[in-house]
C-alpha cells in the first residue's frame, strides 16, 4: 500500500479537530511509535488542567451559576450551557415570562396541581456574587474568541477585591479602576466567525 503524502496527512490531521485535539492526537501518535499501544491508550486525548471552557484557558474560576458553565445572556442572567435556553436560579428551564417549563415547553405544576410560580432569575455577576461573596461586583472588560462557529464574548466579573473566586490572588485582567477579576462568565453572541 502506498504511504500517504506527509503534507496531506498533516493537513488532514489538522483539519479534523481543534489545535488541542490535534496536539493530543499527534502526541498519542508519537508515543504509539515509541512505546506501543499500551502507552498510547494511557494518554488518550483529554482536556488539559488549565482548560476551563472554550475560549478560556487560564485559572480564574467560573462565577456561581445554576448550570455547568457560567453562560449568561446579554443582561447577565443565566442560560443553560448546552443550548443557551434561559434557566432560573434553580436551574429549571423557563419560558419568556420566567415560568418554569418542561423540555417540551409545557408549564410545570406543583403537588397541588396548580401551575408553578416564577422563581428568581437574577444576574450572575451583580446579584449572585454580591449575595454569596458580599462583593459589589459588575461585568466589565471582555474579550472575544471563536467557539462552536460563533463569536463568544468572555466577560470578566470584576470587584474591588484582592481574592478571586478560587481563593487566591485576583488578577487585574480587563477590569477597570481598582477592580480585579473575581470570576468569569461568557456570552455567545450568535455572530458567525
Amino acid at each position: 500500500m502506498p504511504l500517504p503524502d506527509p503534507a496531506d496527512l498533516a493537513a488532514r490531521l489538522a483539519a479534523s479537530g481543534t489545535r488541542k485535539s490535534f496536539l493530543a492526537r499527534a502526541g498519542a501518535g508519537v508515543f504509539a511509535l515509541v512505546g506501543g499501544k499500551m502507552v498510547a491508550a494511557a494518554i488518550a486525548p483529554e482536556e488539559a488542567q488549565s482548560f476551563h471552557f472554550c475560549g478560556h484557558t487560564f485559572t480564574t474560576g467560573s462565577c456561581p451559576h445554576p448550570g455547568r458553565h457560567p453562560r449568561i445572556d446579554r443582561h447577565g442572567r443565566p442560560l443553560r450551557t448546552s443550548d443557551g435556553r434561559p434557566i432560573d436560579n434553580l436551574g429549571r428551564l423557563v419560558d419568556r415570562n420566567g415560568y418554569p417549563i418542561s423540555s417540551k415547553g409545557a408549564r410545570l405544576r406543583g403537588p397541588d396541581g396548580a401551575l408553578l410560580p416564577r422563581a428568581p432569575r437574577t444576574r450572575i455577576c451583580q446579584d449572585w456574587v454580591r449575595e454569596r461573596y458580599h462583593l459589589e461586583a459588575r461585568l466589565q472588560g471582555s474579550w472575544f474568541r471563536c467557539c462552536n462557529g460563533q463569536i463568544r464574548k468572555l466577560w470578566d466579573c470584576c470587584a474591588i477585591t484582592k481574592k478571586r473566586v478560587n481563593g487566591d490572588a485576583a488578577l487585574h485582567g480587563y477590569c477597570f479602576g481598582r477592580r480585579n477579576v473575581f470570576c468569569v462568565t461568557y456570552y455567545d453572541t450568535g455572530l458567525p466567525c
Binding site: D112, R118, P120, R121, T122, D127, W128, R130
Partner: protein, 425 residues
C-alpha cells in the same frame, strides 16, 4: 470464580489485569446502581425492619437459629469465559456479583446491610453496597494463598460477622429520629396545619385531582371536608379554600363562622384573625380580616404572575413569602397595624412557605436541585438551623409547626406525589 481471573485462564498478566479491572468496574458499578435504587426507593420507615433483620442476622450467624436467605443458588456462568471476549465476561462476572443476590449467599450480612442502607438514605446505600462490591473485588485481587487461608477461617469469621451485625443493630437503634412520613392513606397529602394540641389538618389529593381537607384530632376519628383544600387549623376553627372562596368553620360541629366569596385563597386562621390572599385581574393582595368585626387590614400587594405565598398566623403576626423574578423574601406583618418587615431576603435562593409559632420560624429554602427546611427563632440572629434536606427530584413544599412537631410536605417532581413528613420540634 476467583480462580478464573488468573494468568492460567486469561492468558497473560496484562490480560489478567484487564480482567480484574473489568470485573471491578462491573461489580462496583452495579453495586452503586443497586445502592442508588435502594436509597431512592427506601425511606426511614424501613428502620424498624432493618433493626429486626439485623437482630435475626446476629442470631443466624451465631448459629442460634436457622434462617433461609433470598438468593439465587448458582455460580457465575462458566461458559461465558469460553465464548465471550475477556473484557465482556469479566465485566459480566463483576456485574453478577455486584448485584449481590444473583449468586450464593453464605451469610446474612448483605441482606441486612442492604435494608439498613435503604433506610439510611441514598448516599449511605451507595457507599455501603459499593464497599461490599470492593470487598468482592479484593477476593479476586489478593493472592490465592491468602484467600484460601481466609476461607479456612469460616467459623471465626461467622462469629466476627455476628458481632458486626450486633453493632449495626445497636447503631440503628441509637440512630437519631429522622423525618418520618406520616401514613395517611392513598393519594397525595400536602399543606399540613397543626393545632396547639397536636391535631393535624391537611389536603388529601386523589389521583384524579379531587381534593378533601382531612382533620385528624388527637384521639378522635378523622373528619373530612370534601372539595376543600389549603386548610388552616387552630383551636376550634378551621379555614379552607373551596370553589366559592374561603370558608371558616368550627370543625367539630361544621358550623360556618364566615364565608369570603370570590377569588380568595390560601387562608391562615387564629381567632379572631384570618389572613388570606385576594386575587384580582392584575394584583394579588395579602389581607387580614378581623372575624368579629369584619374589618380588613391590607398587608401586601404584588402583580399577578409573581407569587404571594400561603400565610401562617401566630397571635398578631402573619408571615408569608413573596417571590418575584428579581428576589425571594419572607415577610412578617402585624395584623393590627399593617406594618410589614422583611425577615429574610435572597436574590439567589427561593425562600417559600414559612410557618410561625411561638417565636419560631420554619421555612423552605431551595437552591439548585437542593431543598432544605430551615428553622430560626425570631429573636435570634444566628445562622438558621437545617431541619431536613432533600435533593432533586424530591423537594419540600409547605410547612407547619405545632404540638411539639414540625411538619413539611415532601413531593416528587417526577411523579407529582406528595406526602407529609414529621420531625420532633
Amino acid at each position: 470464580m476467583v480462580e478464573t481471573i488468573a494468568p492460567a485462564v486469561c492468558g497473560s498478566r496484562p490480560r489478567t489485569a484487564l480482567a480484574l479491572l473489568m470485573f471491578a468496574a462491573g461489580a462496583i458499578g452495579v453495586a452503586a446502581a443497586v445502592g442508588l435504587a435502594l436509597g431512592s426507593l427506601g425511606s426511614s420507615r424501613l428502620l424498624p425492619v432493618a433493626i429486626a433483620l439485623a437482630i435475626a442476622g446476629v442470631l443466624r450467624e451465631a448459629g442460634l437459629i436457622r434462617l433461609p436467605l433470598p438468593q439465587w443458588r448458582r455460580q457465575v456462568p462458566e461458559s461465558w469465559h469460553q465464548v465471550l471476549p475477556l473484557p465482556l465476561w469479566s465485566l459480566g462476572y463483576g456485574a453478577g456479583l455486584g448485584a449481590g443476590v444473583l449468586t450464593y449467599q453464605p451469610v446474612a450480612t448483605f441482606l441486612v446491610v442492604a435494608v439498613a442502607a435503604a433506610a439510611s438514605g441514598t448516599t449511605a446505600a451507595v457507599l455501603a453496597l459499593t464497599a461490599f462490591a470492593a470487598g468482592r473485588v479484593l477476593g479476586a485481587a489478593l493472592p490465592p494463598a491468602f484467600v484460601d487461608r481466609m476461607a479456612g477461617l469460616y467459623r471465626p469469621m461467622r462469629r466476627a460477622n455476628a458481632v458486626a451485625l450486633a453493632m449495626l443493630a445497636l447503631a440503628l437503634v441509637a440512630a437519631p429520629a429522622g423525618a418520618a412520613a406520616l401514613p395517611l392513606g392513598p393519594g397525595s397529602q400536602l399543606d399540613p396545619s397543626v393545632a396547639d394540641d397536636g391535631g393535624l389538618a391537611y389536603t388529601q389529593r386523589a389521583d384524579n385531582g379531587a381534593t378533601t381537607v382531612v382533620v385528624r384530632p388527637v384521639g378522635g376519628a378523622p373528619i373530612a371536608f370534601p372539595g376543600a383544600s389549603e386548610p388552616s387549623l387552630r383551636g376550634d376553627y378551621l379555614a379552607y379554600h373551596d370553589a366559592g372562596g374561603i370558608t371558616v368553620v368550627k370543625w367539630r360541629t361544621r358550623q360556618i363562622v364566615l364565608r369570603l366569596a370570590g377569588a380568595w385563597s390560601k387562608p391562615a386562621v387564629q381567632y379572631p384573625f384570618l389572613a388570606a390572599v385576594l386575587t384580582t385581574d392584575v394584583r394579588r393582595r395579602m389581607i387580614s380580616v378581623d372575624l368579629r368585626t369584619g374589618r380588613r387590614q391590607f398587608l401586601d400587594v404584588l402583580k399577578n404572575g409573581d407569587d404571594l405565598g400561603r400565610p401562617s398566623i401566630d397571635r398578631h403576626l402573619v408571615t408569608w413569602h413573596k417571590t418575584t423574578r428579581s428576589s425571594s423574601r419572607i415577610l412578617i406583618g402585624n395584623v393590627h397595624t399593617g406594618n410589614v418587615r422583611i425577615f429574610k431576603l435572597s436574590r439567589t435562593l427561593l425562600l417559600t412557605n414559612p410557618s410561625l409559632r411561638t417565636g419560631t420560624m420554619l421555612w423552605i429554602e431551595q437552591s439548585l436541585g437542593i431543598s432544605r427546611v430551615r428553622e430560626r427563632r425570631l429573636a435570634n440572629h444566628r445562622r438558621p438551623r437545617i431541619r431536613a434536606r432533600t435533593g432533586s427530584p424530591r423537594l419540600f413544599w409547605t410547612t407547619a409547626i405545632g404540638g411539639g412537631w414540625v411538619y413539611f410536605t415532601r413531593w416528587n417532581t417526577n411523579t407529582g406525589r406528595a406526602f407529609i413528613d414529621r420531625l420532633p420540634r
